[in-house]
C-alpha cells in the first residue's frame, strides 16, 4: 500500500465550485443530524418527565422511546460529524460528492426503518439489542425486530461506504498507509517532507474514523447479519456472549468516533478564530495512534459484569479505555488552549462553543475513565452515572464541537458575529441547562439510582425532575442558537468568502 505514487490531480486545491458542492454535502449532513438530534431531545425529555412522575405512559412505550433515543442520538451526532469531516477532507483531497450522498441515503433509510420499528412497532430492546431479547420481547411484534435490524444494517453500510471513500482519498493523497497515518512523518520527517506535505491534524481524525469505522462496521455487520438470519430462521443459534461482544464493539466504537469526527472542527475552526496555525506535531500523531489502536478494544469495559468473559480482557478493557482517550484529549486540549492563549481572539458563538467543547470533552472523558476503572465500576455499573458521562461527552463535547464548527464557518463566510445579548442568551441556555441536566445524572448515579428504569426508585424521580427542567432550558438555548445560525446562513449566502 505504501509504494504507490501520489496522483497530483488529487492533491490540487479544490475550485470554488467544488467547495460550494462540498459545502452542500456538509450542510445536508449537519442539518439532518441536528434535526434528528432535536427530535431525539424531545424523546429524551418525555422519558425524564415520565421518570419524574410528571407524565405517565405504559412502560412498554418507555423502553421503545429509550431504544429510539439511544440509537437516534448517536446516529444524529455521527451524521453531523461525518458531514463536517467529509468537507474538511474535501479541502485537502479529491472525493466525489455523489458517494457522500449515497452514504447519506443509507443513513436516512436506516433512520426511517428504526423510527418505523419503534413508533408503530414499539420495538424496545434498546440499541444494545442483547440476544435473545429482541426476539422474545413481550411488547413488540416480530416484524418490528426485523425492521430494526434492517435499519441498523443500512446505517452500518452507509458508514462503511463513507469510511471506505475517505480511506481511499487519504491513501491516494498521502502516498499510502504510512503517509496517511503519519508514520513516515514521525520516523523519517525530513525525507517525508521533501516528497509529501504533512497531513494536517484533521486528517488524523479522518484517518482514524475511517479505519476504526471499517473495523467497527465489520463487527456490527457480522452480528447484524447473524441476527437477521436468526430472525428469518430461529433455528439458527446465536452465541449470546458473541453477540454482546460484537454489538458493543460496534456500538462503543461508533459512539466514540463521533467525538473524533467532531474534533476535526476544532483543528480547523480554532485556527480560523485565532488566526494562528494548528501544526501537526509528533506528540499529536502518536496520540492519534493510541486512539487508532485502543478505541477498538476499549469496549470490553462494557462487559465487566459478564462473568463468562475471560478475566484478562476485562483488564485489557480498562487499560485500553485510558490509552484510547487520555493522550489525544491531553494533546488536543493543551494545544487548543495554547492556540487561544494571548491570541486576541474575539469571542463569538463559534469560538465559545469550540472552546467549551474542549472542557466538556475533558469532563465527560474523566467521568468515562472513572467508570472504566474496575473498582469504581463495581459501584457505578448500570447506575445513572453511566448516562451522565456519555451525555456530557455528547452534549458538551460532540454537540458543541459540531455546532461550534458550523458557527465558525457561517461567521467567517458572512463576516458577522452574533450580538452580545444573543451570545449570553444562547450560552446561558445551553451551558446552564446542560449543567442542570447533567449534574442530576451524576448525583443520582452516585446515590445508586439504576439506569434504564421506567420507574426509578429512591431519589431518582426528584433528580429526573431537575433533569427535565435542565433539558428544557437547554432546548431553549439551542433554539436561540438555531435561529441565530439561520440568520448568519442567510448573510453567508450573500458573502464572498469561498475558502472556508
Amino acid at each position: 500500500m505504501s509504494a504507490i505514487t501520489i496522483d497530483i490531480g488529487a492533491s490540487a486545491p479544490p475550485s470554488a465550485l467544488d467547495l460550494r458542492r462540498a459545502r452542500a454535502v456538509m450542510w445536508t449532513y449537519i442539518s439532518t443530524g441536528l434535526a434528528i438530534f432535536f427530535l431525539m431531545m424531545l424523546v429524551g425529555i418525555a422519558m425524564r418527565a415520565e421518570q419524574a412522575g410528571w407524565i405517565t405512559y405504559d412502560p412498554g412505550w418507555f423502553y421503545a422511546l429509550l431504544s429510539l433515543h439511544g440509537i437516534g442520538m448517536i446516529t444524529a451526532m455521527a451524521i453531523a460529524g461525518l458531514g463536517t469531516l467529509w468537507y474538511l477532507v474535501r479541502r485537502e483531497a479529491a472525493i466525489d460528492p455523489r458517494i457522500a450522498y449515497l452514504a447519506y441515503g443509507f443513513f436516512v433509510a436506516g433512520v426511517l426503518c428504526v423510527i418505523i420499528s419503534v413508533l408503530p412497532g414499539k420495538f424496545g430492546s434498546l440499541w444494545t439489542m442483547l440476544y435473545p431479547l429482541p426476539f422474545v420481547g413481550a411488547y413488540w411484534p416480530s416484524w418490528a425486530t426485523g425492521v430494526w435490524l434492517i435499519g441498523n444494517a443500512l446505517v452500518m453500510i452507509g458508514f462503511m461506504i463513507w469510511c471506505a471513500q475517505i480511506l481511499g482519498a487519504l491513501l491516494v493523497r498521502y502516498g499510502g498507509i504510512t503517509g496517511m497515518l503519519g508514520i513516515d512523518y514521525v520516523f523519517n520527517t525530513r525525507a517525508f517532507q521533501t516528497t509529501h506535505a504533512e497531513p494536517p491534524p484533521q486528517m488524523f481524525a479522518a484517518a482514524i474514523t475511517a479505519i476504526d469505522g471499517i473495523i467497527g462496521s465489520t463487527f456490527g455487520l457480522a452480528v447484524g447479519v447473524g441476527m437477521l438470519v436468526h430472525w428469518v430462521d430461529p433455528s439458527v443459534a446465536i452465541d449470546p456472549l458473541w453477540a454482546k461482544n460484537l454489538i458493543y464493539q460496534f456500538g462503543h466504537t461508533f459512539a466514540n468516533l463521533t467525538m473524533y469526527m467532531a474534533v476535526a472542527g476544532v483543528y480547523v475552526g480554532l485556527p480560523l478564530c485565532t488566526k494562528r496555525e494548528y501544526h501537526t506535531s509528533k506528540p499529536l500523531v502518536v496520540a492519534w495512534w493510541g486512539t487508532l489502536l485502543f478505541v477498538i478494544i476499549a469496549y470490553f469495559h462494557h462487559l465487566y459484569m459478564d462473568f463468562a468473559q475471560a478475566e484478562s480482557v476485562q483488564f485489557i478493557g480498562e487499560i485500553a479505555s485510558y490509552l484510547a482517550a487520555i493522550p489525544v484529549v491531553v494533546v488536543t486540549v493543551f494545544s487548543g488552549a495554547m492556540l487561544v492563549h494571548r491570541s486576541g481572539m474575539r469571542w463569538s458563538l463559534g469560538s465559545v462553543f469550540l472552546y467549551a467543547g474542549m472542557i466538556g470533552w475533558v469532563v465527560g472523558g474523566t467521568a468515562a475513565v472513572l467508570d472504566a476503572t474496575i473498582p469504581v465500576n463495581l459501584d457505578l455499573h448500570n447506575t445513572l452515572w453511566v448516562p451522565g458521562h456519555f451525555h456530557t461527552y455528547l452534549l458538551q463535547g460532540v454537540l458543541l464541537f459540531t455546532i461550534g464548527w458550523a458557527f465558525v464557518n457561517l461567521e467567517q463566510r458572512s463576516g458577522e458575529r452574533s450580538s452580545l445579548f444573543t451570545r449570553w442568551l444562547a450560552g446561558t441556555g445551553i451551558f446552564g441547562g446542560a449543567a442542570l441536566f447533567l449534574i442530576s445524572f451524576y448525583i443520582a448515579g452516585a446515590n445508586g439510582v439504576p439506569r434504564r428504569y421506567a420507574v426509578e426508585p429512591g431519589v431518582g424521580p426528584q433528580y429526573a425532575g431537575i433533569a427535565t427542567i435542565g433539558a428544557l432550558i437547554l432546548l431553549c438555548g439551542l433554539v436561540v442558537a438555531g435561529i441565530e445560525a439561520y440568520r448568519l446562513a442567510r448573510l453567508a449566502k450573500a458573502g464572498t468568502a469561498e475558502n472556508v
Partner: protein, 245 residues
Amino acid sequence: MARMLGYVILALTVVFALAPAYRGDVEFPIRIHHLLHAVILVGAGVSALLLTRRSPARLATRAAWLVVSIVAPVIAMLLMWPSNYSPLDKLPAAHTFEHLGLAVFGFLTAYAGQQYAYGVGTAMTLSLWAMAFLAAWGFGVSPPLQVENVAAASAANAAPASTNATATADVAHGKMVFAQNCASCHGARGEGGMGPSLEHESTRKNASQAIAWIENPAPPMPKLYPSTLSAADVRDVAAYIETLK
C-alpha cells in the same frame, strides 16, 4: 509472476469451492464449516489482490466500484448462513453454488475495492475475512458450556429437588440455563438486578408454580418457552431457583 500466482490461487479456490458436489455424506460442525468458508474467501481475496497489484494510485470516478466492494461482503456474510440448518446443505449442487457465490463475492470485494482506490480493496478484504472468522465464533454455534465448573459448583450448593414437579430435574443444568438466560436480569446468583431477587423464591412459589411462571411470565419478563427454552430446561431452571437461599 504475481498475476500468474493470482490465477493459480483463483483456480485452486474454485476447485475447493466445488468440493461439496463430491463430498458425499461428510458432515462438518458449523464452526469448521465457517472456517472452510473463510478459506474460500481468503483464496478469492488473495487472488484478486495479486491480480490488481499494479492498479494505478487514483480515485476512480466510477463510484460503483466502491459500492460493489462494500455490498459484496454483506452478501457473502448472508451466504455463510449456517448450512447445517439450511436447505442448501441438503442439496450438494445448491451447496456448491453457494460456495461459488462466496468465491465470487470474496473476489469482487477485493477487486472492486482496488479498482476504486489502491488499498481500499485490501481493507475491505480484511473486513470480509474478519467477518468469516467472527462467524465461526458464534453464528449458528451454541455457547460452549463450562459443564465441569458449573457441575462442581452445583454439587457444593445444590439442595435436593423439593417437590414432585422437579423430582427428576438436573439442578446443574438448570444453573447453566439460568446463567445463560436469566442472570443478566436476576443477577449471577439470583440476587437481583434489573429483575427482582430470586433468593428464597422457594418460600414464595413451589416448583410447579415456578415452572408455570417461567412458561407464561407477565411482562416485562420475557417469554423464553418454548422458543428458547425446552420443557426440560424450564423444569431444571425452576429446580435450580428453588435452591437459591
